[in-house]
Each structure stands twice: as C-alpha cells, then as structure tokens.
C-alpha cells in the first residue's frame, strides 16, 4: 500500500460477549437537509444547471455523514468534478443515439423506416437507462467508506442492462405479473455484486416467495390508484433484507407500509398543488403583460409569429416545474422514506471486523455521467 502507518501492533477488536442487535442510525436533520436541497435548486437557475454536480455532492456528503453504524458515520468521498467529467463524457456518448431518427428523417428514407428508427432509439435508451442505473450505483458505492474501508461493486453494467431488458420484456408479456421476478433477479445481481472491503454480500431471495404478495398488489393497482405498489415495495424490502447477508451479519426489517403510503399520497397532492400554482401564476403574469390579449387578437396569418413567445414560455414553465418537482421529491419523499428504512433495519450477528480487509479492486475514475444525463441517479 502506498501509505505509511506507525502501527507496530495489529489492531484487535475488543469483543463484547453478546452484541445487542444494532441498525443504522439516521441522524440527518430535516431542516438542514431541506435547506441544502433548496439552496441547490436556487443555485441551479443562474448556473444553467451546472451547480447540480456540486449540489449533489454536498447533499450526499451531508446524508452519508449523518447515517452511522456502530457509532461510526458513513463517509462520502465523491467529488463534483468527477460528476462533471462523467456528464461531459455521457454527452458525447448520447449524441449519436439521439441523432438516429434525425438522420433517418433528413435522409429522406420512407416513413416506416423513420418509425422503426424511433422505436430502435427508444429501445436503446431503455437499455442505457438500466446500464446507467448500475454504473451510478458502482460510483456511489466506490465513494462510500466506513471506518476507512471502501465499499464497491463488481459485475458488468452491460450484462445488467441485458438482464433488465430481458426480464422487463418477460414482465411485459405476462401483463405485469412477472414484475416480482424482474425485481428479484435484478436485486440478486445487484446484491451479489456488492462488496464491503474484500467481503461480498450474499442474496438468497426467490421470486416465487413474493408472487402472491405481488399478485394481490397487481389486482389492486387500479382501484388503489397505484398505491398498492407502494405496499408491495415495503413487503419486498422486508423480504429482500431478510434474504441478504454479509459475512456473519444478517438483516431484518419491520417496516410498515402505512407511512410510505401516506407519504406518497401527500407528495402527489403537493405536486398537484404546486403544478396548479405554477400554471396559474404563469397565466396571470402573461395577462399582466398583455400577452394573452395579444395572442387572442392576433390574426390567423400571424399565428406563427407567436411561436417563439409560446415556445419560450412553455420552456420556462417546464424547467421550473422539473426543478420544483425534484426538490419536492427529495424533501417530502426521499428523506422521510430513507429515515424510515434506516430505523426499521436491524443487523444481527457478530462480525470479526479485523477480518474484513481493504480492497483495491473497485476504483472507477469518473462520475455517473450517463445516469445524470438520463436523470436516473437518485439524490
């Protein structure tokens, strides 16, 4: 190793005879978390969105440092410039794919070739979204440390993407009934490729054991306006936790679905409310400056003259809504659900921490560009 320590004596952990069950301790403060989210949102406007790399890094650093296990907080060592570099690389990568239907449209090929190009592009994007999800997870894990030991992820993001597309197709042709299989297979791949130091996580979950839970949720999807999906995901989280182990540690969660369901309902209410406010304020502002009146008066030959104005207004409203949606989601949904997850999780078993060694194998150099570009990376 490249560093030097003055440690002539090997460190041995003093072992209490029976360790009490412990879980992650979530100590983040709602007010401070929200303040960071709002600051990031406000700074995104004048910087044309470029602040998000620094903002995301700041938010993660705050969250990681306020989630601790056995008295030691996690540590996030990612840097904004890695995210920025990843974003720029992803831009270069995505541009040719974005251009497929355009190239077909311009080259004057028949119309159905154009439709085929659109479909091909959509499939490629669906695939890339899955690839990006896996790569972003790899980046976050490799930048996560606990007691100075790095976490990591093995496996191939291209394989993960193929699996996700294949099981996604299976879920599609079974009219959604295969969704639990998709979820379990992907969770297995993710977990079995997750490492803490040189210790790999194990997963023994089977989709069959979730089938009836999902079947019930599937039946109730329409009558509950999709809320039964939240109920399923809570049950799924408990099941997945119980089937995960690392070394001699096992996991257990008693998460109840009441809180997540209420949170989801409240979130959608607030989003509807905010959307209505943004829309009405925009209309009122337009009226204030006489634009509405002018648009109504404009004669038919002039309709196209209004296009630049309408486009600019639409774009502004869209940008504002996307920004506010992201902020609201972090504050009202991500924070409280993460808190509930941490609180519900119990870690059992006795681990010889001195037997878990640092591993040098997981060190990606770049950020999660693809994920950021496709907007699938979480907080």
């Amino acid at each position: 190793m490249p560093f030097e320590t003055h440690s002539p004596v090997p460190i041995t952990e003093p072992r209490p005879p029976t360790p009490p069950p412990a879980g992650p301790l979530f100590e983040a403060d709602f007010g401070r978390f929200s303040a960071i989210v709002v600051t990031n949102g406000l700074l995104s406007l004048p910087t044309l969105g470029f602040y998000r790399f620094w903002g995301k890094t700041r938010l993660r650093r705050y969250l990681w440092s306020h989630i601790s296990f056995l008295g030691t907080p996690l540590e996030y060592s990612g840097q904004a410039k890695e995210l920025l570099l990843g974003f720029l690389l992803a831009l270069g990568f995505l541009l040719p794919i974005v251009l497929i239907p355009v190239a077909v449209g311009v080259s004057g090929l028949p119309r159905n070739v154009g439709i085929a190009a659109d479909v091909l592009q959509a499939v490629i994007f669906l695939y890339l979204i899955q690839v990006a999800i896996f790569r972003a997870r790899r980046y976050r894990l490799s930048r996560t440390q606990w007691r100075g030991i790095r976490a990591g992820q093995s496996g191939s993001s291209w394989d993960y993407g193929i699996k996700a597309m294949a099981w996604g197709f299976f879920a599609l042709i079974t009219l959604g009934l295969g969704y639990a299989v998709l979820r379990t297979r992907l969770q297995a791949y993710r977990t079995q490729n997750t490492w803490f130091g040189d210790r790999c996580f194990e997963f023994e979950g089977r989709a069959g054991e979730l089938f009836w839970t999902w079947f019930l949720a599937w039946l109730l999807l329409l009558p509950t306006f999709g809320l039964s999906h939240v109920w399923y995901r809570v049950r799924e989280f408990r099941y997945f936790a119980s089937k995960t182990r690392v070394g001699s540690l096992t996991f257990r969660s008693g998460l109840k679905s009441g809180t997540p369901i209420l949170l989801t309902l409240f979130f959608w209410l607030v989003i509807g409310f905010i959307g209505a406010i943004i829309y009405n304020v925009a209309i009122a502002t337009l009226g204030q400056f006489g634009v509405t009146e002018w648009l109504n008066q404009a004669d038919p030959t002039q309709i196209e003259e209004a296009t630049p104005i309408i486009t600019a207004i639409n774009f502004l409203i869209f940008f504002l809504f996307v920004l506010v949606y992201g902020m609201t989601r972090l504050i009202l949904l991500v924070f409280p659900i993460l808190k509930a997850l941490c609180r519900s999780l119990v870690v059992e078993g006795q681990e010889d921490w001195a037997a878990i060694a640092q591993s040098e194998q997981f060190r990606p150099g770049r950020g999660e560009g693809l994920a950021d570009s496709l907007d699938v990376g979480d907080f």
Binding site: M1, P2, F3, E4, T5, H6, S7, V9, I11, E13, T47, L48, G49, F50, Y51, F53, W54, R58, R61, Y62, S65, G71, T72, P73, Y76, L94, V102, G105, V106, G108, P110, R111, G114, D118, F125, L126, R147, G148, I149, R150, F196, W294, Q297, A298, D299, P300, T301, Q302, E304, E305, T307, P308, I309, W353, A354, I356, A357, S373, L374, D375
Partner: protein
C-alpha cells in the same frame, strides 16, 4: 499536553480501536490502551474527512491517500488543533463549487447563445445547400403529413385536397408561367387544402400549400401569383430545409442538455417539422425573389401591395414590443416594398381562369 479520547481505524481492516489522542510538538499521536503509539500524523498533512458539521464528531485523516481514520467526539480538540494545523481552522472550509459552477453556467449560456445565433443557422444553411432535391422532397412529404395531423387534431379531420378540373388547370398554368426559366431544377406542385385559414406555405423540395381561406380572401389573381412567387422564393432559397435542419438540431440540443432524451426527441422532431417559420431576413429574401420572378414573367406586383394594405387595415401592425420577436416584416414595410414596382407588368390570368380558380374547392 492535551489528551482526547478517540477511535482509530488503520484503513487496512474494518476494525476500530479506542485510542488516546495526544498533541505532540510536531505531530498528533494515537495510543492504544497499553500506551503504545499506533499512529503518528504530522500536523502539516492532517486533514478533515469532511468539513465539520456542528454537533457531530470530528473526523481526521492523514493526507489524501491514507485510508486510516481518526474520530474524536470532544469538540474542544478544534481549539487545540487550529494553532498547530492552520489548515483545520474554522472558516477555511467553505462550500466550494459555487464560483466554478457560476463560471460554467456563464460559459454555458454564452455557448448556447453562440450556437443558437450563429452556429446552428450557419450549419443548417451549409447543410441545406448540399442536400439533393429528392431528399428535400422526402422531408417535405413528412412535414406535410405532420400538417395534416395537426389540422385534423384542431378539428374537422384531415382537410380535403381541392381539385376542380378547370381551377386546377388555371393554377398549374400559373405555376408553370411563374417557374418559366428560373433554372432552379425544382418540380413545383401546388396543393389547395379545403380549410378556412388565410395562409400559404412552402415545403422543402418544391411542394406548396394554399388554403381555401386565402383564395376566398384574395381580390385578384395577382395576389395569388405574388404569394406563389414568394413561396417559390422560399423553395429555391431552401429556407424550409434550413429551418427544418435548424429546428431538429435545436430539439436535439435541448434534449441532451436537459436530461430527457427519451420523450423529447420524438416529440421534438414533430415540433420541428410542423414549425416552419423562417425569420424576417428569409421573408425579405423571398419577397425580393418574388418581385424578380413577377417582373421576369411580366405579372404586376400591385396585387401583393394591396393585399398587405388590407392586412394592415384589418388587423393593424404588430405591437412594437413583439416586432422584435416577430417572424415576418411588418405589413406596412412589405406593402411599401411591392408598391415600389407598381404599374409594371400585366395580369396573372384571364378572368375566366380566375373564376375557375376561385371555385376549385366547390366546382
């Protein structure tokens, strides 16, 4: 000598050791329960793991490479450390990044402006020049589909094509006369759509569309001839192809920048096809080409001057604030432009042909 209780991990394994932290002359020492030193960290290389959060334990590291970590819960250690390791003093750890992000944002805005105002129009006009006419024609067909769909959406289904035999003959004769000797290589074709809109437009590749509304409103065949000449100007100057290429690249640019390439580019392409406004310079150029064409085939331009005079009278000028954003020159300016050539040239067609053309949709 100041002593503090801390927890030490050596970065090799996940074990943690309770230690006594001693602040020596030139370094910080960690001692285990037996008093043996497990780490000596020089003050110069001492660094925070993260800028300290109030009320949270202080986390220290030795340089940027060493994964060993020291956690101290007693906040008093800060006051003792600050004089020895000035890099740890409070206030030196402001949130970085805002300056850089602002710079990047400004550079981004400048780049977007340069792209919007110079690079895209230039690139589109260069590309439009080399695209073969057959490709332009195919693009035009796609754009026409889009127009049909939009008209069907706003009401009444896809508008019918008007094809009264006598009116059609009169129209084709007018187009042939206007195209006489223009040497552009375009195969012009005019569609009359049965819809009340007072408008006409040109598609890339030589197709033009006139709405019945325009024929109803036109008081002389010279108006129709002038408008057709104007649209032919758009075709030969390849304004439609340029606008299409510009709009498509713009849609692509927005999609990539604003993180939603999936939904965006599909709809963006449709938007690009159906939104063919060319800008004022292009309109002026088409007016200029129209005037030249009308004079070349000896048709009087006064029809258009009257047409714009009537538009101004009926609807007034665009309000000055919106003229900056407006895509056409003002009616008054266009009226004056065509009045300059007044008096010269003859009629566009016979009265009988004009009556037939007026009735092309209900023959």
């Amino acid at each position: 000598m100041a002593r503090f209780a801390g927890s030490y991990s050596d970065g090799r394994t996940a074990a943690q050791l309770p230690v006594q932290v001693e602040l020596m002359v030139s370094d910080l020492a960690c001692r285990d329960a037996d008093g043996r030193a497990v780490a000596h960290w020089p003050y110069e290389t001492l660094a925070y793991v993260e800028a300290p959060y109030p009320g949270r334990p202080l986390r220290l590291r030795n340089g940027q490479e060493d994964p060993a970590r020291l956690t101290v819960s007693d906040p008093d250690i800060l006051a003792e450390l600050a004089p020895r390791a000035p890099q740890l003093a409070p206030g030196k750890h402001r949130q970085a990044g805002l300056g850089k992000a602002l710079l990047l944002g400004l550079a981004g805005i400048a780049m977007v402006l340069v792209i919007l105002l110079y690079a895209l129009p230039w690139g589109a006009s260069q590309a439009a020049r080399v695209i073969p006419i057959s490709w332009e024609r195919a693009l035009g067909e796609r754009a026409l589909d889009q127009v049909d769909e939009i008209l069907a959406m706003v009401g009444g289904g896809r508008p019918a094509r008007c094809d009264g035999a006598e009116g059609r003959a009169a129209l084709d004769a007018l187009v042939a006369r206007l195209a006489e000797g223009d040497g552009s290589g375009y195969d012009y074709e005019v569609l009359v759509l049965d819809h009340g809109i007072v408008n006409a437009f040109a598609l890339p590749g030589g197709q033009m569309v006139i709405f019945r509304g325009l024929l109803d409103q036109a008081r002389s065949p010279e108006v129709v001839a002038g408008i057709l000449a104007h649209e032919m100007g758009h075709v030969t100057a390849r304004h439609g192809t340029q606008a299409l290429l510009r709009n498509i690249s713009l849609a692509v640019l927005f999609d990539v920048l604003f993180e939603d390439p999936t939904g965006g580019s599909l709809s963006g392409l449709g938007l690009a096809l159906s939104n063919l406004s060319y800008g004022r310079d292009a309109e002026r150029e088409a007016d200029q080409l129209a005037l030249e064409r009308l004079m070349a085939v000896d048709i009087k331009a006064s029809g258009l001057a009257e047409f714009f005079a009537k538009l101004k009278e009926d609807h007034g000028e665009t309000e000055p604030a919106f003229q900056l954003l407006s895509t056409h020159p003002s009616h008054g300016a266009r009226q004056a432009f065509f009045e300059a050539a007044q008096g010269r040239g003859g009629p566009a067609m016979t009265d009988a042909d004009w009556r037939a053309l007026k009735k092309i949709c209900n023959y």
